[in-house]
């Protein structure tokens, strides 16, 4: 997933030394749930439990947001992102925004 880039949600990359910082990097994507998945989830709600269609959709979207964040960091010459955080928000009735952000750094 990280393609040689170190990702960490701590303030450092454990076991490594930060030599340079390049500021905040971010990646986001907005995904709409299609009507068929909505219908399927509606029926799944009859018994409750995991809504697999949404789980997969949001995982794909989060990976895309991560990729965009890593591309942003690579473009700045960083080889690691520390203090990574995720945020999800519903932007309209049928769409969600997945957002990943962190601080791009170089580690030895």
């Amino acid at each position: 997933m990280s393609q040689g880039m170190h990702l960490s949600n701590t303030e450092t990359v454990p076991g490594k030394l930060i030599t340079a910082s390049y500021g905040l990097v971010q990646g986001s994507t907005v995904r709409a749930k299609n009507v068929f998945k909505d219908i399927g989830a509606g029926f799944k709600n009859m018994v409750g439990g995991e809504l697999k269609a949404y789980t997969e959709l949001l995982q794909e979207a989060r990976n895309e947001a991560l990729q965009r964040m890593m591309m942003d960091a690579q473009a700045r010459g960083a080889n690691a992102i520390v203090n990574v955080r995720f945020a999800t928000s519903a932007v309209s009735g049928g769409a969600a925004e997945l957002f990943a952000y962190g601080t791009a750094v170089t580690v030895q």
């Binding site: 454990p14 709600n45 409750g48 439990g49 995991e50 949001l58 989060r62 049928g94």
Partner: protein, 167 residues
């Protein structure tokens, strides 16, 4: 007698489209949710009894002062929803106020499941512990456009997995 027959005839659609779906939701929802919660409990117990150790914490620093070989961001997520029956009970509770126990079941399951899956994932990759764990919840869908009776939530757990140097 004829009036009674007409009333009963008019009650059939109410039974078929209102009472029956909620009854089925109650029966099969309890059965399905009980099954997945028991399965998760068995998996958690098997992992705890396996002697894997593998601490998971929200501390920002590693628990050992040993040299670290490698670290990686690990995460797990799941979308879960309550059943129609549980949503109806939740709606009633919203009217009277108080604890909505019907939602606790699936929320508790979602949180436990993401933490368990993240732990399994990092163990399979040979990591020794996960630090700085965060668990977040967000609403992914609504029951309808008219109010805020939510029918789908996403839980995500993420943290930094650490593998200590063996030398």
């Amino acid at each position: 007698m004829e009036v009674l027959f007409i009333i009963l005839l008019n009650l059939i659609p109410v039974f078929l489209f209102v009472v029956l779906p909620f009854f089925l939701s109650w029966v099969f929802g309890n059965w399905h949710q009980g099954r997945i919660i028991n399965r998760l409990a068995a998996e958690e117990m098997a992992l705890n009894n396996s002697g894997a150790g593998h601490p998971v914490s929200n501390l920002s620093k590693p628990s050992q002062a040993t040299e670290i070989e490698v670290s990686m961001l690990v995460m797990s997520s799941i979308s879960v929803g309550p059943s129609w029956w549980q949503m109806m009970l939740g709606g009633w509770k919203n009217f009277f106020g108080g604890r909505i126990e019907s939602y606790d079941k699936m929320h508790g399951y979602g949180r436990r499941k993401v933490l368990h899956d993240m732990r399994v994932q990092s163990l399979q990759q040979g990591f020794d512990e996960i630090i700085n764990v965060r668990v977040e919840t967000s609403m992914v869908t609504k029951k309808s456009q008219r109010d805020d009776k939510t029918a789908g939530y996403e839980f995500i757990a993420y943290g930094t997995a650490i593998k200590y140097s063996r030398s």
